[in-house]
Symmetry: C2
Subunit: 335 residues, 2 copies
């Protein structure tokens, strides 16, 4: 048998493909079978399914079981994994991509929602939303003559990393300030120019010469805990540090220490260990905003990832180049 | 004697006129006296000061004592009150403006900071910041498979009122959505066109056909509690109601009731009674963001109001028309 496989839960179908976009997916795929991963009894049944249907295309999401190393033996016809979310490492082994399989994920289609969360968190830092939420709700609080607040207008914002999310962040920051710089040695000058963002030469300058830092560096072998205590202490008084990228890029013990000692606002959506441990020192700190890794995409914008997937399915079937097809290099850098 | 009066505290001087802008004010005013209102022993001494110096210009802020009804008798030379903050009713009686005195306040120079707060609060509603702050800090929380979040991208935003702050809000919303409408019968079509905002014909439509409502209507005799329970209940499920305008425009009892019963996110910076009473039903509600009336201007942007005042002092002294000189009508509509 040769049937393409769509392996999605009802919620995944509804959120990625609302307004009958799913009908279009099914129409495009032609001969296919829909499998609800929640109804699979286990890995064995999944392997049986792959073997039985020998799919050329697999449409998958969070609940789809991982593809096995030996996929090419089970399903020699397999060519394209259209993965709706982002984290491909969970679903497909590197070797399958090395052997030439096509893989796409949500890629840049969700960048703007992460950027939105970065701007939200920067604004929260400026207005001390973390502090005021506790004061207003649990302490009967109100402002005093000493209350200090800040605005994003005219602030110096430094972004660590300048990939797609950082570029979207710069767009959303633009109405507030033109003082935007980024540190990202690998991104060429044209991209900086295109977005009207200044290149910053070093992390040291990025941290010591900006009022707001947005952490968006991809995690690599080489940059674990690259945001050191020294860098964090070099931030100007009253600065804000926002992380919507990867928690492990930051020395989190140092961050908790510096935040407890320095005039600093911190806002975190990502952590070295997730879920954030219940005894994390960040919990309870009145100058540290915390979100549970929900920067992007929001439930209501999963449809952007769905539209991106639909376009890639169309392209694949018409033998056109895919948008943001994953390379082995991208796989290695991915989360 | 004839001396202009600057009656400001050190903090007021520092925040409204940083970077030696105060030097420019003093230079402009020529012969003047600086009075620290915190050093005045009481109203009597203030009246003595006014009588003694008989100022043509008074530069004032929050801590300056109110000008008396009989100012023209005490200081017949008085012509111009350059009030740095916004709420002129606290500082000058209506009669003095009726009799032809010039008055300016911060006017539109601070609009963008209030707009910024409106966007912040709308984003907070979308991401459930109020809820997550409590969960993450005080309940050891983390997201689950059922966690729902929203984005401002592509949302329908309806603004009640379309004055300067609403216009600035539309500018900041633009990168997120082009779906912006406003209800404000008194604002002419040209202003809507200029900002690319659709005119909404009624409050009923504004509330029932938008996902996010930004409340920015000026308070008048006629619109107290005009945001009724019925309007609030007509909001679509999952909608957000943000108030950075005036609390008394809203039936707050109804709002608390509706928020406790309906799938609604609420974010408030202003209240019918301020400071917000300690036993307000809003305190503690997990779908209601609360800030203590700090939408604008932030401490760091008081300098925008200072620059505006400086420009008006220059104009006054060169007999040019003042920017946004207060009329009796504006006084009556002011907070």
């Amino acid at each position: 048998m040769k049937e393409n496989i769509i392996c999605l839960t009802d919620i995944e179908v509804k959120t990625f493909f609302p307004n009958n976009q799913f009908g279009k997916v099914k129409e495009l795929l032609g001969s296919h079978i829909c499998i609800n991963p929640e109804e699979l009894s286990g890995e064995e049944q999944w392997l049986d399914v792959l073997k039985k249907y020998n799919p050329e295309i697999i449409v998958a999401a969070w609940k789809t079981p991982a593809l096995p190393d030996l996929l090419s033996e089970l399903a020699p016809n397999f060519r394209y994994l259209c993965y709706l979310p982002g984290s491909v490492r969970k679903i497909i082994p590197r070797s399958i991509i090395e052997n030439g399989a096509h893989v796409t994920n949500w890629s840049g289609s969700v960048s703007r929602t992460v950027a939105e969360c970065a701007v939200l968190l920067a604004l929260c830092c400026m207005r001390r939303v973390r502090y005021w939420t506790e004061e207003m709700h649990f302490k009967g609080g109100w402002k005093t003559a000493e209350t200090t607040t800040q605005s994003l207008f005219e602030r110096r914002v430094g972004i660590h990393g300048f990939g797609l999310i950082a570029q979207e962040t710069a767009k959303l920051l633009r109405p507030f300030t033109s003082n935007i710089s980024a540190f990202s040695p690998s991104v060429p000058d044209e991209i900086f120019l295109k977005h009207g963002v200044s290149r910053c030469d070093s992390l040291e300058k990025l941290f010591s010469e900006n009022d707001v830092i947005v952490e968006l560096a991809a995690l690599t072998e080489h940059n674990q805990k690259i945001i050191t205590e020294e860098l964090l202490r070099s931030l100007p008084d009253g600065a804000a540090f926002v992380n919507v990228g990867r928690g492990a890029v930051v020395d989190e013990e140092a961050l908790a220490r510096v935040a407890s000692e320095k005039d600093l606002q911190v806002a975190l959506d990502v952590y070295g260990v997730e879920p954030l441990p219940k005894d994390s020192p960040f919990r309870g700190m009145s100058n540290v905003m915390l979100l549970p890794h929900l920067a992007g995409p929001t439930t209501d914008r999963r449809q952007d990832a769905g539209a991106h997937a639909l376009e890639n399915l169309r392209r694949y079937l018409q033998s056109e180049p895919l948008v943001d097809q994953l390379t082995v290099g991208m796989y290695d850098r991915a989360s």
